[in-house]
């Protein structure tokens, strides 16, 4: 299996601060990789680099076959990022947001509606402006906006945060489904109990570098 994500000695600067100080990482197709680490370790930056949003100052980065040191923009359509920000227009309604963002990503309005259903967003919420939703509902809408693009690489920054128990189960289910259908999932989380059940593998990042790897547990290894 060739690596979907391949980073070698990746250094990424935010201003002059080395958020990533030499990261080596390989992620293979269909894997669900958990990214652990303390606050400020570089998890968000790592996800941003994989999305092609943040450039490297030195090192190698090849994601989905695209060399990010040459062209960061090519990979963006093929990844999906769920970040700390909602990526939604607060004044527009749920469906207006999904209609815009799905069409912006060359998906269809129907894809957007299907994604909302999949994320369990109740249809009575559809016409409501995003700012009037609860944080958990907003998170589901952001997630829906991501999956309607059908990304090959999922980059999730604390996907369970803000969701109730049913929501967290849903997210786990989505991640597993994505992996079995061929996508790759890279997610950062502090919810270690839950995360370790769904992840195939986990790595710890601290001080801008990857520290160690946890081999897949036996149950999940069988699913790979």
């Amino acid at each position: 299996m060739s690596a979907i994500v391949h980073l070698r000695s990746a250094v990424a600067l935010i201003g002059r601060f080395p958020a990533l100080a030499g990261v080596d990482l390989d992620v293979h197709a269909g894997e669900i990789l958990l990214l652990r680490g303390p606050n400020g370790a570089g998890k968000t930056t790592l996800l941003g680099v994989c999305a092609g949003l943040i450039g490297l100052s030195t090192g190698e980065a090849v994601v989905l076959g695209e060399d990010l040191t040459k062209n960061r923009r090519a990979v963006r359509r093929r990844v999906g990022l769920l970040g700390h920000d909602s990526f939604l227009y607060q004044d527009l309604s749920v469906v207006e947001n999904l209609d815009f963002w799905s069409r912006a990503a060359a998906a269809t309005v129907a894809d957007g509606r299907a994604a909302l259903d999949r994320l369990g967003v109740a249809s009575r919420l559809f016409e409501l402006p995003v700012h009037s939703l609860s944080a958990g509902q907003r998170r589901r809408v952001s997630f829906a906006a991501m999956i309607c693009r059908r990304p090959e690489l999922w980059l999730l920054d604390e996907p369970h945060a803000g969701l109730d128990s049913a929501g967290r189960d849903l997210v786990d289910g989505l991640m597993s489904e994505a992996a079995t259908s061929g996508a790759t999932v890279l997610f950062a989380s502090h919810e270690l109990d839950r995360a370790e059940h769904v992840a195939h593998r986990s790595v710890t990042i601290s001080g801008g570098v990857i520290l160690d790897e946890t081999p897949p547990s036996t149950e999940t290894r069988a699913e790979l």
């Binding site: 100080a21 030195t58 801008g208 520290l211």
Partner: protein
Amino acid sequence: MTTTKIQSASTVSPAPTGTGSRGTKVLGGFALVFLAIAVVYGLFISPPDAQLGNTIRIIYMHVPTVMAAYLAFIITAVSSGMYLWKRTEFWDLLGSSAAEIGVLFFAVTIVDGALWGKVTWGVFWRWEPRLTTSAVLLIMYIGYLAVRAIPADPRTRATRCAIIGIVAIVNVPIVHKAVDWWRGLHQGKTVLGTIDPEMGGTQLFAMYSSLIAGLLVCVWLLIHRFRAGFLAERASDLGLDQALEERRLESSPATGEDA
């Protein structure tokens, strides 16, 4: 991507103590010589103008400063374009240094234009084409400097300034056209800012020497400013190696080996 050079303490040469060099000393010498010639001919030897008397002598300062200002802004514009293409620090530094110098010369132009106005017309300001255009351009480039001063990532700052540099220069001919049509309705062209073709002999000589002096001073200032900016960037870079080390040490001792 920013091209940051990571240098460790052992390989970097001792920091220069100033921005001067043999080249700039020679250049400065020539500038002084031409300045001296310009002052002597401009203020003393060349004859006063038939209509304007001795006040015409301001032209020996006004024209060079305005030409130098335009030269500086053209350098900024070209550097801005080159930066957006090549993304190297050189073009960013050149563009921003030139913008500062351009603002300086433009400010001087407006001040001496106002002084001349006070002496000839009795008022510090007239809405004549040159002064009006200069005022607008000055404010545009002050905006450039204001954005430059905002602390940001080097690449972000350079991109913002490059965009302003290009947008501003494109506006210059448009502003000229609009102001000339507008003010040209109400008064004829004034002598200010033009090289009168009827100038002869010593007047022309004074004009050209002051022009050369102005351009030499502009280039001299530009080189020094560029070097000062370059050194400032290198000083920031030297911290990078150290920052990388400190960053890696953030890994908790229990789990961590450094990468």
